[in-house]
Symmetry: D4
Subunit: 250 residues, 8 copies
């Protein structure tokens, strides 16, 4: 609520257009709204293109379906991550147009027909084939947030020619998400080639001293290439969401 | 391009089927497509507004001064981080216009007269007063990259009213850098209020189980707010540089 | 046994009021009692309102039922934590009035009809819905110890307006238990708002670099808000018990 | 601001008693005040008996002295922790009555003449002589918050008779702070003897696998005795402050 | 011994300068000095009272049974640890007198009829009931090595009177094995009471920040009581074996 | 105090042989003495051959000298560890016969003229030359406790022939202390050769992934040789003390 | 090569100053020098004797079989690691000559009939029987790369005579792979005996403080024997492959 | 060989049944088979080209000089690592031809005039300028072991064109040592380009979450490129020595 809106409201009250009770209610509500939190929260969801995301792990299919119905009401975009097949089945029964991506393990609905801006492409890269599920989660997330997304999988540092063969994609993108497990070296190489934000996503892929993704995480945090930021292990959603925020021409 | 293709190309050229320029273009592209790196590297620096950054720790004042002279040649912007007073003295002798920021511990020169775009403001927030040096490094970095930067210091989560009193700044910014040590909670709170990219910078401020910033780092990686990405402990430069990349309207 | 009581005992013996054997027995018993341990132990249980708690994990239903019978004898309050349905079934067969809380995974019986003091309320807060089981364990524990307990769930730092909407509860409470996983930031925010003891309970909720609750634990130990103390990961019982001790007007 | 106050305000406005601008200002101010934070913060300090604490590490003597003057204005109690002799010298020059405790490394002034309630004693125990500085910081903190504080030093678990010889103190106290390094076992033993809140403070005392206090910290978090809560390594201030909150009969 | 020295020695022998016995002694010593290992190994097993121990985890029942038959040949004592019921069944089919201890998860046979020396008692103490399996493994091991073993279970530091009630056992023992999980404090208390070797065994009992026994392990390594040595987490066998070595009057 | 002694005491009281006050005093004293702690403590020191050890780190020379005088009164043995030259100078001024071992960094006095039993030898082995200070601390400790001690230094596993050349010493010893840094492999090799207790002492010698002795500590805890127990990193004193307990023919 | 140089080169060719072959060579080299990667990659596989290895974990039997068919085309050697029986069954259906090693969990085909060079033997040693699967993976890998491989299992440091009995094998080998879990001491002992490269492979064998192989890994990295290099935990393939590279007489 | 067999052998010799030479051979073999170590050790040093290396850290200049004199006797090569200037000064006084490399911090003498084999080149690569000291230590070590060594510094992954510009060196080398700190990604890139052994050396260069080289170490152990082995953090000597072993055509 801006100062101007507030001023109008007060004049209406003075003129008797609205009752004391009505103004009181508005202002009482303001008690929360004036802090901005509720308002912000509300606006933020509208602006970001979807109101809330369902993290399915630890939720029953029924719970997920219930929340999904509420979120997707009125054609609003729906995103559920870490969804199993049973979650999907439950959602599908209630939301016929729900789509399951078995690689990304996501359920979506009401995805924007076309991206906000075709020229602003987000590129999602994965180092190995085992990293693809996390990369796919990032791609699905960025797409449902209204971005054009391209993917480039299996271009790890031990075979750099595969990455270079696709350098056009690199140079065309506005934000790059790089997903890698094991030694997590790919973001450094990509970050050294481009001048757009690079979001590094460590994955839990590996064994022994990979410590469930900790090695990749640490490597990414210590990258010698500038401009790289990092999200939590296996957090494809977080990377896709952050990429979308960075990609918006606000 | 196979040897055979190459052979055909050369014969065509010899036979006059294709012009010298055309062959030259093809081969040049080849050079770009393949070695490419040097070129890219070159362009990248031009686009980013400064060619290289000097990390002074472990370098002698003389070494830093020598590199600084080379980098700043032709009025190109200069940034040296983790610089001590002796580093500055050595640089100052050679580059009269060099400026030292004793809080950020940076040496700069040839900073752009004014930001690329005044409407695209980067906000740098610190949780405690002890976090200010890292925040200042981020701010200096973002400024010399050509951004308008505002700062908001000492607004930790144990006194939220201080943050809220400045909510206008929050909502006006395009990218936010949040610097915090100890429990590293501030990025989660900020991330819950805004819809622009938030870069979290853990600092080594704290004692005991803060483990030199590891606690803050982990907390930031596990933030319950979406859209937050993280850089290394005390890496103010990295945050400022990434913020600059995110802030450009490419 | 005070010096005065001892003096009386000895005089009775000298006067022949009690036999040598009787005095000997009393004093032998004293061999433990004089150290105070046994006595203390005994008194302590009486004062605290329940004699012992059963940690069900790793115990068979039959074992739990046996111990439960002994503990609840004479209408004494019973609390069993980390109880599965089979534990409950076994207890229920022997103690008809036993109650199972499937969220908290507790079995209770002989809960005090009403709290010791309605004015002294303990508030249990959880950051996320996944943290509720641990919060519920804390609430059940504090209630069976004779406290009035209120709960406030799903008020994490990424949506602070939800917490503020219930600020009355915060200010009315005498002790607050704050349960949070992931980045564990909520206790810092709550601790910055109130002036009563805040007990922080990290949960194992999260993934990747949350390390089974270690991140939340560390964040809580490093809280920038004063007056916060911490218990072990997922230790809802410990928090509820400590809250009860703090809430007593001894 | 209560609903009633708000109603009066609006009526005054309607009746023309106050101008639109005046109402607007009040409501705008409400934008911060309604969140309560500023107010709460203010009240909280008053209630707790001292407004802010200075953590001297990383601050210059001049900075500490400046803050100390502001805080202690009007006879309000002053507490500065981790203070060196040079900090004290600087403070002493401006605040003549400032007192330095070289063991606790604290500077205090305006300590309450006598405790709020002599019957509510806080006991501070240390396991070894090397733990005394941290214990002393806790004791100084609790005292300046208005509590009666007793201390019991060098009563580690390898010589339990020393603890038992002072059992009267244990049983008389309302809150107990137990400070221990190395294996951190003392809180478990104390917690098994008493029925009041026990705050465990791990110290960085030890070598090798004590890992700067981590071993003691972990041991305390895993205590088999109920009712123990833990603060950060070497955080004597935090323990003393929390003990004071727990000791108040609010 | 060089080739030349050897040659001289042999010539002296041939010439009768030194006796066969003398040469034999020199060469035998050589044998001892050098290969030595096999011999030592052989003697060592005889002296220690059993030739080899079977660690069943990761071995099939058939494998265990085969090894058990070889080891127990000629009435030699048999010890198999971490044995499941199926391991026992397979062994039992081949060795009728084999005995299974389901608590310790051990299979034994040919246990010495009576201990080497009844006066030299090894005491095995456990802090909690959950620690008993590890304690039992230690007890079984020490017994089959020919020692008199007594046990004292569930005497954790949060209820010291239980330990003190059995202080006679403490003072009578020649070696004490103390088994504890969680905070691992019991060895420190026991070590402060006795003047015989105390072997501390951390167990993986606990949750959260007990880290599968690491907390107890670290606490034991940092014990403030002198004379305590430590074995690996859950290594009841190792403790029982070491206790047996310490208990022998060699 | 046995039951019989108690009975006699009571009869004497009844018969008027002792006054009520006298009996009361005896029984009151019993309040501590009956727990045995004080008594035990007293006896323990006498039996062990020295009353208390001074850990000099963190103590001033004056403090150390004061304690040393008290301890060594009446010709009792004195041991101070981690002593610097200034500690020694201070002690020397008060105790003329004090001896400083600059390798072990120990101050001793009143060492027993000859060992309790020359046949019961403790062998202290070190892997590298850098481990000698810790080994020397162990040797000094065991000697002042009244043991015959031999040493064998610089016999690491990368040159096993050096160890084998001294195998006589190995087989002659009753207890062996093995001190090693880096990979900590030596105790396993020694433990495979002998049938006496082996105490492993990790040292902080090494760099990089030796983590200040943690690698050696872990290796020793995981030794594949049976009968090995471990003490804290660099804890030569603890090893020497434990070895002395193990070496006594109690 | 600059554009100008390129232009000169082309003109020379057009003018007939240099032959087509000469230009072709120059440009081909350019291709190598720059894109180089693909070419190199190609040559590398040919030289190394097999084109790619399949890591089966996380792949379905069908996926593995498909890749296996492509790789083994034309009689090229096939290696699939971490293969289960179902993987093998699927491969076997398509590649009749495929061989499964159930210990090493490998699928191979088209193994070279005989090693490149019988005199250059690779020795694979394991410390315990539980380490054999990892050792076998190393052996299988080295063999299919064309090396003569010998194995020596169950020769851990606690029974050195077993290793010494086979010293001929040690001295005959050109590269040695040493596989060990628990304390990981064997590579140090072997490295002290030989003067060829020793590759240490830690295994996840052990319990408690072995931390899934981390202890063995750290011990190997800190080996006091020179010339030892280390691979990841359980990485038998990596060790076998590196050993093959070291064993080639290039 | 049993005593009896030995006795028979000796009698046969005395009786002239076997020649002195034959007996000598048998006994010599025995010496080799058993003590063997000393001999082996001796041969090994001769073969490797230098007898022992001095690790100067923790040694006084005088100690280093003494050892250096012994080692370099008779013109044998000398290598001392981690040497300060004072170490060098002390050595220089006794060994005039000693050479100090201030970057590598090595002292050498009697370096072979020319490499064993000019065709077998070892390449030492460093990622950053700060990694050069460790790389130089590796280079110096490999050179004094008799190898031709080339170096390539400052070719980190964030500027790959620098590495590619020197690809000739890569393809010409027989063994490659890659030294890198921070994220440790360079070995993976190099390992993907070549088919010779790659030894990765993590350095302690970095800050924050580089944890003194642990991040680089972990990344290298998890490299997705095959054929890479790893040494301890900052262990340039170990890498150079291992490279020399790998480079010999034995």
């Amino acid at each position: 609520m801006t100062k101007t809106e507030l001023r109008v409201l007060l004049r209406d009250f003075r003129k008797g257009k609205i009752s004391e009770q009505s103004l009181l209610n508005t202002l009482s509500a303001l008690r929360f709204e004036s802090t901005g939190f509720a308002t912000i929260d509300h606006h933020r969801h509208l602006r970001q293109g979807f109101p809330e995301v369902i993290f399915c792990e630890g939720k029953t299919p029924a719970q997920v379906a219930d929340i999904a119905v509420k979120i997707s009401r009125g054609g609003r975009p729906l995103l559920a991550t870490r969804a199993g097949k049973s979650h999907y089945a439950a959602v599908k029964r209630k939301i016929r147009k729900a789509v399951y991506n078995s690689t990304a393990r996501t359920i979506t609905a009401n995805e924007p027909k076309k991206p906000r801006d075709r020229d602003r492409m987000i590129l999602v890269i994965s180092a190995g084939t085992s990293d693809i599920p996390v990369a796919a989660e990032a791609a699905v997330t960025a797409r449902i947030c209204g971005n054009r997304v391209e993917t480039l999988y299996d271009v790890g540092v031990a075979g750099l020619h595969r990455l270079i063969a696709k350098s056009d994609l690199l140079f065309e993108s506005k934000v790059i998400v790089v997903v890698a497990g094991m030694e997590g070296a790919l973001p450094s190489v990509v970050g050294g080639l481009v001048d757009v934000p690079v979001i590094a996503v460590p994955t839990s892929i590996g064994y022994g001293a990979s410590f469930g993704g900790v090695t990749a995480l640490l490597a990414m945090l210590n990258s010698c290439a500038s401009g790289i930021t990092v999200v939590n292990i296996d957090n494809g959603f977080g990377a896709g969401f952050a990429a979308s925020l960075m990609n918006k021409k606000v």
